[in-house]
């Protein structure tokens, strides 16, 4: 009887929609990717198991693009991660110095990227750096009588880094400003009396107190930059000529543009494995457990 069953295990009843959704959209796809990675599934969904063939293609560099993709991924992360953290720190610190209204204004401006739909954000960057004279920056150059620049050919990676960096900044800045706001006023006053300049206070007092938020945001954005390719996909699609193609995007393109589902899946499996390893490393080195237990700032 339903009533009796409910009485015994009501939590399963209430959990079931969530459990079903999660297994359908998270668990099953992961398992599927792992299975498909060992096949040669193609456009027509014909497949048979090929053992480790896909992986040996990856690791023995029989795919000539792989070194390039790896290099792109590293450059992208090494560029976007510091930009995000340092940029967000700078903005949060500087908004301390201006009055309340101005600070609110600047924070709102830098938070805008989060509120803009991804497609619009991507389109804005595309349009701004459009290589013809109709692009925003080129038309500015043009109005000064300067020659146009083929932005996407000259600086494709930089554009992609900044487009993603600003998104990273918007979140990290929000976290940092609220953490700064919760630093007891006495610390800042004590530093002021002791003769610390604004930068000295930032360096010796504020930033050390933000250790946990900074670590959290670093870990968060590291994972996010490794895995998300949406904006690169929207802005350059990985081009021109693979110049901005990072690992995750390469997996996507292989599977859904070149319809090599099997090979694409194996690329994604590598990504999943990297993610797991990274997560374990982060948990260990940052003491993620401590991070979750502790208050946001050490006060």
């Amino acid at each position: 009887m339903a009533k009796g069953w409910l009485k015994i295990r009501p939590h399963w009843f209430f959990l079931s929609p969530g459990v079903l959704l999660i297994s359908f959209f998270y668990f099953i796809p992961v398992v599927l990717v792992f299975v498909i990675a060992f096949t040669n599934m193609d456009q027509a969904f014909n497949w048979r198991f090929v053992g480790l063939a896909n992986f040996s293609r990856l690791f023995t560099l029989r795919d000539p693009l792989i070194p390039r993709i790896i290099k792109n991924t590293i450059v992208y992360i090494v560029g976007a991660l510091p930009l995000t953290i340092i940029g967000a720190l700078l903005i949060s610190l500087l908004t301390m110095r201006v009055n309340r209204t101005a600070s609110l204004f600047f924070r709102a401006v830098f938070f805008l990227p989060r509120l803009i739909p991804p497609v619009v954000w991507g389109f804005l960057w595309m349009w701004s750096f459009e290589g013809t004279r109709y692009g925003v920056f080129n038309s500015i150059l043009g109005s000064f009588g300067l020659p146009i620049i083929h932005w996407f050919i000259k600086f494709p990676m930089l554009i992609v880094i900044f487009a993603n960096g600003f998104l990273g900044i918007s979140l990290a800045m929000l976290i940092f400003t609220s953490a700064i706001a919760s630093i007891p006023r006495d610390y800042l006053w004590a530093a002021e009396i002791d003769g610390a300049s604004f930068w000295q206070t930032s360096r010796f007092v504020i930033i050390p107190l933000l250790r946990w938020p900074i670590m959290t945001m670093t870990a968060w954005h590291l994972m996010s930059f490794i895995n998300s390719y949406v904006y690169i996909f929207l802005i350059t699609g990985g081009g021109p000529y693979h110049a901005t193609e990072v690992w995750a995007l390469y997996g996507y393109n292989t599977a859904f543009k070149n319809y090599q589902y099997g090979y694409g899946s194996s690329i994604m499996v590598v990504l999943v494995v990297i993610n797991v390893l990274l997560l374990i490393t982060l948990l260990r080195s940052f003491g993620m457990k401590k991070m979750i237990e502790r208050s946001r700032i050490e006060a």
């Binding site: 006495d186 610390y187 006053w189 004590a190 530093a191 610390a196 000295q200 050390p208 107190l209 050490e298």
Partner: protein
């Protein structure tokens, strides 16, 4: 360094945190800012430190107006109520932080840190983090950080209030001694009157942003200028009774509910010249009332007896008023016993009920 506050006001919107404060603090003097919570003590201190800009008025260090001088150039050392020790730095780094900012060589920093640490006996704790220290130790570290700059003015915001009673008493004498040895002009904020009275050379009593009285502890206790000061200072607190002034046959009497006191000639003449209205408040401290069983004075009844060890605090009721009296433990009395009380008329205080001003002071 001499510190003078002239017509100093600090307002936050409508809140007059400090209102028209005038103080003159001598070089090397130890003064306490005393008052109930929210009376503007911290605000005064922060304004002297330069962390707040005065709304009006001037701050002089010696003969120089320092209103526009930034906190770091005021040569002040400050201990915050929270101590504000940086949690991520060791005790050594905390203490030497002011020197590090001035790019003092590490050797000098070490030497000076040891010197000040020895002053307050924390030289063994230099490698610890603040979280590994007790409240009393943290307080000393904060003091060291303030002293290492060799400040000319020391500002202390309730530095003892986070300590337990025993440690507080110990630190009281230690701090007082240290201040005398170093003879640094010191402003000490507290809401604890015992602390203020025992430590400071002079005490500035504040209420609602306004200075009530600035004098030495003895004067504050025996000659309070206002009803507020009389009521605030002293523990157990003073007895205050509403009375009216009456005159008959050339003699002055204080008449309250069930009490009638004849005033000595000396006092009555002064009251007569000072008082504007006949509504007065009569004040007498518990130790200036004597209790006897010999039927001398006003008849009363014992309500409670609270033994304090050295003496007993007795609450006595006569008609509608209750009075606190300090008696010797040798006087054996118990609740509901009939006793007679007498006032030491040399020690009475009289205040104008409306203005709260003392009528006995010129």
């Amino acid at each position: 360094m001499k510190v003078i506050l002239k017509d100093l006001s600090k307002h936050f919107g409508n809140v007059k945190a400090v209102n028209n404060l005038n103080l003159e603090i001598n070089d090397g003097e130890f003064i306490a800012l005393l008052g109930p919570s929210g009376c503007g003590k911290t605000t005064t201190l922060l304004t002297v430190a330069g962390l707040y800009k005065p709304t009006r008025g001037y701050i002089y260090f010696n003969d120089r107006i320092v209103n526009e001088v930034s906190p770091k150039d005021r040569k002040i050392g400050m201990v915050f109520q929270s101590y504000a020790l940086y949690p991520h730095m060791t005790v050594f780094d905390n203490i030497t932080f002011p020197l590090k900012l001035k790019k003092t060589p590490r050797e000098d920093r070490k030497r000076k840190a040891l010197d000040v640490a020895r002053l307050v006996h924390i030289e063994g704790l230099l490698n610890r983090k603040p979280a590994q220290l007790s409240g009393g130790q943290q307080q000393r570290v904060a003091l060291c950080r303030a002293l290492i700059k060799e400040p000319e003015i020391l500002l202390l915001d309730e530095p003892l209030s986070n300590l337990d009673a025993k440690l507080r008493a110990a630190m009281r004498s230690e701090l007082k001694r240290l201040q005398k040895d170093l003879s640094i002009t010191t402003i000490f904020v507290t809401h604890d009157q015992v602390e203020a009275m025992t430590m400071a050379d002079r005490v500035a009593v504040m209420n609602e942003g306004v200075l009530q009285q600035f004098s030495n502890p003895d004067e504050l206790y025996n000659y309070p200028k206002s009803l507020f000061v009389a009521g605030f200072i002293g523990s157990p607190s003073i007895n205050l009774i509403d009375v009216s002034l009456a005159r008959s046959n050339g003699k002055f009497f204080l008449k309250g509910k069930g009490v009638q006191i004849e005033l000595p000639r000396e006092i009555s003449s002064r009251v007569e010249s000072n008082s504007l209205s006949p509504q007065l408040v009569f004040g007498i401290r518990p130790e200036h009332i004597t209790v006897n069983q010999k039927k001398e004075g006003i008849k009363a009844e014992v309500y409670v007896v609270e033994p304090l060890g050295r003496e007993n605090l007795v609450t006595i009721k006569t008609s509608d008023i209750s009075l606190k009296v300090l008696t010797s433990p040798t006087l054996k009395i118990g609740p509901e016993e009939k006793v007679w009380i007498d006032f030491n008329l040399d020690k009475i205080m009289l205040f104008d009920k409306e203005t709260g001003r003392s009528l006995l002071l010129r």
